[in-house]
Amino acid sequence: MEKNFWLTSEPIEINDVISKVVRPEAGAINTFIGTVREFTKDKRTLYLEYQAYVPMAEKKLQEIAEEIEVKWKDTKTAIAHRTGRLEISEVAVAIAVSTPHRKDAFEASRYAIERIKEIVPIWKKEHWEDGALWIGDQKETKSYKEQLPTKEE
């Protein structure tokens, strides 16, 4: 069976994700790739560590795709998320959504990454020069001024 939603401890090949959504009905594919950023303001990240509740995470990724199918018709989604230690610039997550028209592809892909940050049991530990910390909720819809910087904050 084709697996369109997966966690992996190996580097993610973007083409593996994109190729799962290419189809004659699609005119647009939007891909979102999250990479490990070195600096957040002046704070330097050395590397990241991702942990996941793998079977549940894969199930939740699939649920997100099902939500997308309800919200935007005729979509196809694939998502891969990395686990383990990631160096700077490595790919943490890759999302690909194909749709007939481009507007939907952008919106659905954006929705996917926001939902991942809400419901998929995956955790990130940031390792800095002066310590390490498991990072909590980092949805962009909230303010985290009081917290330590995170990849997306």
Binding site: Y53, M56, V93, I116, P121, W123, K124, W134, G136, D137
Partner: protein, 77 residues
């Protein structure tokens, strides 16, 4: 017995990723109390709960063989 899965900070605090606990027939809420009496897991109250890989609430009554996961605020992506 139920399996209790811990992740991220909770896993580090407990020093274990999986515990086997006698909690058949009790609620998740009671299981949490039991865990808090043994482990330094204050943040478990900020965790979501999953029973058998589906989000559940504290009132869920556990059965033998259930897998209970405590899900700290997620930070994937």
């Amino acid at each position: 017995m139920v399996d209790v899965l811990l992740f991220a900070e909770l896993q580090e605090k407990a020093g274990s990723e999986k515990l086997s606990i006698e909690a058949d027939g009790v609620t998740v809420k009671e299981l949490k109390k039991q865990l808090l009496s043994t482990y330094d897991l204050d943040n478990i109250n900020h965790a979501m709960i999953a029973v058998n890989e589906e989000y559940a609430n504290e009132a869920t009554v556990l059965a033998k063989g259930d897998v209970v996961a405590f899900i700290p605020p997620v930070s994937g992506g």
